[in-house]
Subunit: 343 residues, 2 copies
Amino acid sequence: MMNKDQEKRILLSHGSGGKMMHDLIAGLFREKFSNEMLDRLSDSAILSGVSTKERELCFTTDSYVVNPIFFLGGDIGKLAVCGTINDLAVEGAIPLYLSCGMIIEEGLEYKTLEKIVNSMARIAQETGVKIVTGDLKVVEKNKADKIFINTAGIGLRKKGLHLGKEYITIGDKILINGTLGDHGIAVLTARGIFQLETDIRSDCAALTPLIQDILNLSDQVKFMRDPTRGGLATTLNEIVSGGSSGIEIHEQDLPIKEETKAACELLGFDPLFLANEGKAVIIADARDADKILERMKKHPLGKDSRMIGEVVPDPQGKVVMRTGIGSHRIIDMLVGEQLPRIC
Amino acid sequence: MMNKDQEKRILLSHGSGGKMMHDLIAGLFREKFSNEMLDRLSDSAILSGVSTKERELCFTTDSYVVNPIFFLGGDIGKLAVCGTINDLAVEGAIPLYLSCGMIIEEGLEYKTLEKIVNSMARIAQETGVKIVTGDLKVVEKNKADKIFINTAGIGLRKKGLHLGKEYITIGDKILINGTLGDHGIAVLTARGIFQLETDIRSDCAALTPLIQDILNLSDQVKFMRDPTRGGLATTLNEIVSGGSSGIEIHEQDLPIKEETKAACELLGFDPLFLANEGKAVIIADARDADKILERMKKHPLGKDSRMIGEVVPDPQGKVVMRTGIGSHRIIDMLVGEQLPRIC
């Protein structure tokens, strides 16, 4: 599963969301912790033991270590609330309750902490989510980096939603609710390295209203996932990996800001691998795809929505991009590390 | 709420479990995140919105930053599973599901991670708890310390349990299921400083079987809490703080190992403030206290159980200790920091 060198140490790239992380999770965590809920390896676990006839309970967790902790369009607190909300939302759940575990580096300014807590409280309030339990640890200087936040979340979804990779079939359309890579570029800009200057705001947002709108409109949604670490390319690869169909995306349909393209050219990044924090990849049956797209475009969180591709028979288990000049190239999962600590 | 100096920076003592942490939580988190579930400030939140007629859902979280990550009797993984189980167990809940969020410092040996994951898997297996969702982040060297683990937990308890500070009345007895401070001394010994050499093992254990035994035996249990960070003294102060009664404990009844006493004398620590990771303070009506104690002593997790004191009318809101020679001294909440990163 891991080669000799990787076997020795955990590397930054094991946390990148890409191939090395997937291998580590499959080879260690999934094997040791194995149970039917974890094995789905979805964004949220569906808790069979506490679900009722009408509704299922979903449970998810994420730690946030973004650097820097403030950036255009958000901060680590907003990210920690929205990110966990989105992991529930893409499973079709309404997020209800969050926990909040903070690890703080000794010396953090109280005002900074207050700003982060205010930001969490505001977004929780706006989204109707309650932070109901928490924990605080403080570690010595240089044993953490300012602040890390873990949020775990609980949401409810109605039973009978047919969401999951297993429902995807050839011909299904792939939609996304806006421009790619905004979060990645915003964080990179905030780092103040590479002389990068952009006005791109992180797309950090809670997607529940948009997703619920779509689910209320159509019962032909097959699968949803938020393309965060590892970007769109990694998410699409996760979807087809090991399966009997492939995904084709169309380069000219991908919504990417000109500024993002320019920054990526300058820095040698690929926008397909940049993190998003307010985007969902939506796979829907072709018969409802146009209707869903139209609705998405009317939603404040989906103005720049696009249909970007479809599920195809070949190549099996792979993602290909049809470029502007009609050629095809394989889009792999992120290997190694593009941007550490992006979320 | 905080004085001028504290207002500027977060200090290690804000994470100690003592008075500064309580003030920070009351002054910031509780104020900003306020809702009826959080405001109980209990070890677990009772989730009213997803409970049914027969059962209530409990939800809790804790991050673990213990240093070193291995010690006699446990490791950070065992601690992360047991600690969150215990926060649910003391609310009378049966722990069912855990999330696991890891933040790893680049360079951690794979074998070390594997050992920790094995330890988590083993204790989850033994206790029948399932780890159903997880997250992994890796940060650069010196931006974390080997590994931090957050676990959030979900448990179920039957409705109609009358557990809570509000049920405590004068005359209630206070019990504990074994010796104090074992975890604190074990971690301190593992640090290899102070030339401290002891054979004391951390008491790290999942308390569900013992607690369920007690709850099945008696409906006169009023309140339970696990005295972790800040020790017994801090937990007892939390119980009476702001209330109309006090607690008296009897020095000669406190179960403390001779080796712990000796280590504390050497280092200037007070065993009442040392962390425990397999102990529960149990407050029960006097009429059932003896029966409960007897049962506790028969349980493998309660061999050294003792009745250590009672709820008294005076001094209101305070904890006093009657010493061997009959004098009284006030036992305050931990102020400042005794042992950073003990859990």
